[in-house]
């Protein structure tokens, strides 16, 4: 009985502590990474050779990816959505991220 109680209490306290720390130590990331990630299929399959969709989205926004077809499960709906999104959201200096689909 005590075991359950103690473990639950520890889990709760540590979880709250981590939530607080996460808020305190938040790293400002480019919001477009999140935008691109939402438009990817989201299988985290790794077929693009990046470790998961988040890493792929980050690489797209940083301009390391030239061809969206690297994303194997994706189809034209996904590719078009990403190209449109990147056209609408340009770099701070006004230049555009160009990717093929």
């Amino acid at each position: 009985m005590w075991a359950v109680f103690v473990l639950a209490l520890m889990g709760g306290l540590l979880g709250l502590g981590l939530a607080y720390a996460a808020d305190l130590l938040k790293v400002e990331a480019d919001p477009r990474i999140e935008g691109v990630r939402e438009r990817l299929p989201g299988y985290d399959c790794g077929a693009c050779s990046y470790p998961g969709c988040s890493a792929f989205a980050e690489a797209i926004v940083e301009g390391d990816v030239k061809d969206l077809k690297l994303c194997k499960p994706g189809n034209n709906t996904h590719y078009d959505a990403i190209v449109d999104y990147l056209n609408d959201n340009r770099n701070p200096d006004g230049s555009k991220i160009t990717v093929k689909k």
Binding site: W2, V6, M10, L14, A21
Partner: protein
């Protein structure tokens, strides 16, 4: 209790009972992150942070909560819970401080959770019964010192091994032995060298 206890604790857990080469704990990061000296040192610093704090918290948790409530059997899972949370914290801190280090350590940061050296030291501090030998709070100091020494030993071995591996990159190694095989043999020879230190301090 005199100061020599702390000296012996650091010296023996760093060199004589080295976590990696004598107890064979924490071999996964030892082989995984030792390709570059920079990331090896970053890993050692992260492990030291987690190991010392985990030893401190787990010792107090064991003697102040688990023993009075007679639930020592949740020792392993509660220690893992502490270590896992600490690792999450370290991951956030590293991400905040150095994006480059975060990238070069990669998945190995999360794998500190399952780094058996950290759980091993936390559990060993209990099984070696420091609290019985020295009393509750002096025992805590010895336990934390032991963890610090073990982390220093881990760092020393990581640093030595990574410099050797950097030299191996340019060495003329037979084709079949390139990469991991020659690293494993190097690690074995290092373990032999460390075995020579055995028995210096009781």
């Amino acid at each position: 209790m005199s100061w020599t206890v702390f000296f012996v604790a650091i010296f023996s857990s760093m060199l004589i009972n080295n976590v990696v080469l004598m107890k064979f704990l924490g071999v996964c990061p030892f082989l995984g992150v030792s390709k570059k000296t920079g990331s090896a040192l970053g890993m050692s610093a992260a492990v030291m942070f987690v190991m010392v704090i985990a030893a401190f918290v787990s010792y107090l948790l064991y003697y102040l909560v688990l023993v009075p409530l007679e639930i020592e059997f949740v020792q392993t899972i509660s220690f893992i819970l502490i270590i896992a949370s600490l690792v999450q914290l370290v991951e956030m801190i590293i991400k905040k401080i150095s994006k480059k280090l975060y990238k070069s350590l990669g998945v190995y940061i999360a794998l500190i959770t399952t780094n058996c050296a950290i759980l091993g030291i936390a559990v060993e501090n209990i099984t070696r019964d420091f609290a019985g030998q020295y009393g509750l709070f002096p025992g805590l100091a010895v336990a934390v010192t032991t963890a610090f020494g073990a982390a220093l030993g881990f760092g020393l071995v990581m640093f030595a091994f990574s410099t050797i591996r950097e030299r191996l990159e340019g060495a003329n190694v037979p084709e079949a032995w390139k990469g991991v095989p020659v690293s494993l043999i190097t690690a074995g020879i290092m373990a032999l060298a460390f075995a020579g230190l055995g028995g210096i301090v009781g």
